[in-house]
Assembly symmetry: C2
Homo-oligomer: 284 residues x 2
Amino acid sequence: MTKSKTIPVAIQGERGSFSEEAAIRLLGKNVEVHCCEHFEDVFRAAEKRRVRYCVIPIENSLAGSIYKSYDLLLRYHLQIVREVNVRIRHNLIALPGVSFQQIRTVMSHPVALDQCEKFFERYPRLIRQSAYDTSGSLKKIVEQQWRDCAAIAGERAAKYYGGEILMAGIEDNRENFTRFFLLSSEPEVLTNADKMSIVFSFSNAPGALFKSLSVFALREIDLTKIESRPIHGRPWEYLFYIDFLGKMEDPKIQNALNHLREFTEFLEVLGCYPRDSRQRKKRM
Amino acid sequence: MTKSKTIPVAIQGERGSFSEEAAIRLLGKNVEVHCCEHFEDVFRAAEKRRVRYCVIPIENSLAGSIYKSYDLLLRYHLQIVREVNVRIRHNLIALPGVSFQQIRTVMSHPVALDQCEKFFERYPRLIRQSAYDTSGSLKKIVEQQWRDCAAIAGERAAKYYGGEILMAGIEDNRENFTRFFLLSSEPEVLTNADKMSIVFSFSNAPGALFKSLSVFALREIDLTKIESRPIHGRPWEYLFYIDFLGKMEDPKIQNALNHLREFTEFLEVLGCYPRDSRQRKKRM
């Protein structure tokens, strides 16, 4: 029997995490997941070709953009080759046989803890403890056999570490999705790529942002997201990240990018990829 | 002798913090600082009129926007009445008489730890420990008389808690400023107010962001900042926060806001205030 070829991919966090779920949705069940503690390690693993791909969360529909990911997209020269929106469902998970009454401490990633505010209001006896990962919290509880501790994590984590779900879907808001990017160190554009991400800056001039957006609006190219990040060493100047719908080879898109180059001091295409059509981004 | 009247103001973090420095720069030495652990408590203290004002950080020139502050500006109905940019200078501070060689652990706010990356690379023996506040870390070290611990905090903290600066200016990048807002529960517009902050959203329509910016660009009103935050419960739709230069009573500004109302579904003026001219925001 030959083992089917696996695809090495780096993620931040542990096995059983939402990032692992995203990796499987993006690449199939044959992924060979490399777990990294820090975001920077994830980018580095792909840039140094220790893995073919990496998967990073870029924004959450409640918590907003993940700054660290935006900053690292600029620093590392990887291409965005796919995107996926993953529904985030938080569960309270403990060791098998432990009852809810025994739980004193709840561990998870700070964003997950924040997203279960109403749950904590209902049970004020519970102490919240921040950890670097949702799934990693459960891993630790299982390793240490902590019976007064529960983790907030996804269903996948419960299965992976043999935890028991004490309460399912404890998040405040069900419209909770995280958008992930698949990044590659090698240029790769899928034939159905119909969405693009770019980053640019302009020398300071009144109306420069308006002009930048006009190259899209005047060609009826739809934006789906804009994000600004500070430029290091130049206080109160910003880089702009824009996502828009369009195919790289479309002359309209090429014209828009050339037009944008006329007044930007820096412009980089971060990737062209098929939009996730299961849960479509609104246009702006 | 009569004591001069003090001005009660809530801040996040402890005495000796950069927020306290901002409060003094904004209101003078007669401030009576009320320390809160969480941002939400700061806003609540002002809304419930337990203090006349509160001071919140809104963005840092290296780390970017402080999301929590943006989200709370919307939830609480306070007015921005002043702004100030404070230079952030990080120092390594320990108990008096402790030498640098004795230090094993360095405590501070995670953003401050991140901003001293090169310092930690130079001294890999040092363990980083996250805390909720820069100044609060030093307070704890002094209270507990920890001799193997140092805090990263401002000079004001060293003076306030009687700590000794072991190394001054250990931040990676000197162009490090935090912009603070003074918020008031009562409407108050200073006569020299020449800058405004607004927040708005629009029903989804291609080109809507471009149209929104056009109401400013076509009237030559300069933007200084744009920030987007997700709308809860409506995945991939956003609120936009914009700062621009202009006086509330200027007909041009009134026309621009009326024009913007034609296609926004929500629009709120967060405040009109004099821009901090010591370190001026660039225009975009």
